[in-house]
């Protein structure tokens, strides 16, 4: 178990450090088009081949990793934080607050966000840099993504509230603050972490979808989202190297899951 965790941390660290300063070691800049070598197969010059416009795939993947691995967790953090706040206070406060917040969450889940996001993009000025555009996209994803996790948090808090140990805490005369801080919060943390780990790959893929609709990462800036879009037209069977980004995404997601604090103690006492 710990070996797996260490491995996962290692993987994440390698990926993160590779993406910290891609300028230093990638074969080319992500936007440079080697048009005479478009659609090239992997070679010494282009380890993962080139895309349709002759851009080095490895370089784009590494730069894209930096963009996605920085922003997707940030957005996930944002939405999980909002979810904890909203879902938690709905469950704790109950009554009108609960009705209000849960109605808001339902509304959020049923709204056609795609259209709202599109409208929002249409309202933005045209000459925004790709960096601003992508930061904004993930900000929106983070802000809009609270409702789903909030319902999970709400349900968890409700379950916790009716649990034996919370009842026992009340029976021991603990005050509401004590119950909340010492009993609710520590038990909520794993749920939040799980939500976070689910949200990260979700946002990476959401960004890819939004990219198809003209939101998110603008050309030529690479992201995992728009790199994954290459699979739409490519033939992964005859060009297996197109699958490298998928493998990387799976690796990162799996590592995130493995790094999650496991439910084990140091040693059994009894």
């Amino acid at each position: 178990m710990t070996l797996l965790r260490r491995g996962a941390i290692g993987v994440l660290m390698v990926i993160a450090s590779a993406a910290v300063a891609p300028e230093l070691w990638t074969p080319a800049h992500y936007a440079t088009q080697f048009r005479e070598a478009a659609d090239a197969e992997p070679s010494g010059r282009f380890p993962l081949g080139t895309d349709r416009l002759g851009r080095d795939r490895l370089s784009r993947l590494v730069y894209g990793t930096r963009v996605s691995l920085l922003l997707a967790p940030a957005a996930a953090l944002l939405s999980c934080g909002a979810a904890a706040l909203m879902g938690g206070s709905a469950a704790v406060a109950g009554g009108l607050t609960e009705t209000g917040i849960m109605a808001l969450a339902d509304l959020c889940l049923s709204l056609p966000w795609l259209f709202l996001l599109l409208t929002m993009r249409a309202l933005l000025p045209l000459n925004v840099s790709p960096q601003t555009s992508i930061a904004l996209t993930f900000l929106l994803l983070g802000v809009l993504g609270w409702a789903g996790p909030a319902r999970v948090i709400f349900a968890t808090v409700r379950k916790l509230q009716s649990s034996d140990f919370i009842l026992q805490a009340h029976a021991a005369g603990l005050g509401p603050r004590q119950v909340f801080l010492r009993h609710l919060t520590p038990n909520l943390a794993p749920v939040l972490l799980a939500q976070f780990c689910v949200a990260v790959p979700l946002y990476v893929l959401a960004e890819a979808t939004l990219g198809m609709l003209g939101l998110g990462v603008a050309e030529p800036l690479p992201s995992w989202g728009n790199i994954l879009r290459e699979l739409e037209s490519g033939n992964a069977l005859s060009q297996p190297w197109l699958l490298v980004p998928v493998v990387l995404l799976a690796l990162v997601v799996a590592s995130f899951q493995a790094v999650m604090p496991a439910q084990t103690g140091e040693k059994d006492y009894a």
Binding site: A169, A171, G173, G175, D268, A270
Partner: protein, 287 residues
């Protein structure tokens, strides 16, 4: 001397009205009173009502709960919180579920202490009093490392943090195996003897009631139908339901018979320090 606890309550749940109907019960200081009844007859409701926690289950309580001369039903939330844990302790049915899985044992004790601003102290003495390891390493465990029996001992320790005059024990042994059960019963008896703590011992297990309680109250259809000294009630049941209960005891296993036998003996207090097996061998001639 006025009783430590004197209750006369009726409890309604929204979907289950009349769970308790003018249930009356008295407990004197230093006394162990057993409350016996079938499952689902509202035995746990009594503990929740005394602790003022019925609201969590949507229940409503009418009547009065006189504890040390105060009517607990008239206290506000804050005042009631000061009674919980400090003056009345609760020993739960499922000790493992009653422990926060993500909180270490020491933290549990510290939280219980902080709830009533008790002074900082070394927990070794308390641990010893419930026959748990007293070294620091033990308290650094998470609850999942405890066996059920250890967990129940720990819950008893938790309940005793503020040395309340009254313990409510809600089916505290029903989740335990026979041996552990006997140990816990022994522990209760010792605490009662050494520290003078009164107990409301709720159970459907007649054998344990017989071995532990000074008096017993029989709960049936929301009312106490019979109440008296344990020996009297068991030897000479008055109410039809009590007779039914006693008759329903399956062919009693050895230890239960012994326990019942003990209950009938005037000197039962001495016997409880022995393991059930020993007790069985020692007292078998009685039968």
């Amino acid at each position: 001397m006025s009783p430590l606890l004197k209750i006369n309550i009726s409890v309604d749940y929204p979907r289950n009205p009349g769970v308790l109907q003018s249930l009356t019960l008295e407990a004197h200081a230093g006394e162990i009173i057993g409350l016996v009844g079938r499952s689902g007859e509202g035995k746990s409701t009594v503990t929740m009502a005394i602790l003022g926690l019925l609201g969590y289950k949507g229940g409503k309580c009418a009547g009065e709960i006189l504890f040390q001369g105060r009517n607990l039903l008239e206290l506000n939330q804050r005042e009631m919180r000061c009674v919980r844990g400090k003056e009345i302790g609760l020993v739960p049915q499922s000790p493992l579920a009653a422990l926060n899985p993500n909180l270490r044992l020491r933290a549990h004790l510290e939280e219980a202490r902080r709830a009533h601003d008790g002074e900082k102290r070394d927990w070794a003495g308390l641990m010893e009093s419930v026959s748990l390891p007293s070294e620091a390493a033990f308290l650094d465990q998470l609850p999942r490392n405890l066996s059920v029996g250890m967990a129940q001992r720990f819950m008893i320790a938790m309940a005793m943090v503020h040395r309340p005059p009254l313990l409510l024990a809600d089916e505290p042994t029903s989740a335990l195996d026979m041996i552990t059960q006997a140990e816990i019963l022994k522990l209760f008896a010792r605490l009662n003897r050494e520290q003078g703590v009164a107990m409301l011992y709720i159970s459907h297990d007649l054998a344990s009631v017989a071995s532990l309680c000074h008096r017993v109250a029989i709960l049936h259809q929301g009312k106490v139908v019979e109440c008296g000294a344990t020996g009297d009630v068991f030897q000479n049941p008055q109410h039809a339901f009590t007779r039914q209960l006693i008759a329903a005891i399956p062919q009693p296993p050895q230890s239960s018979l012994v326990a019942m036998g003990k209950a009938l003996r005037p000197d039962w207090n001495e016997a409880e320090t022995m393991a059930p097996e020993q007790a069985a061998s020692e007292h078998s001639p009685v039968l």
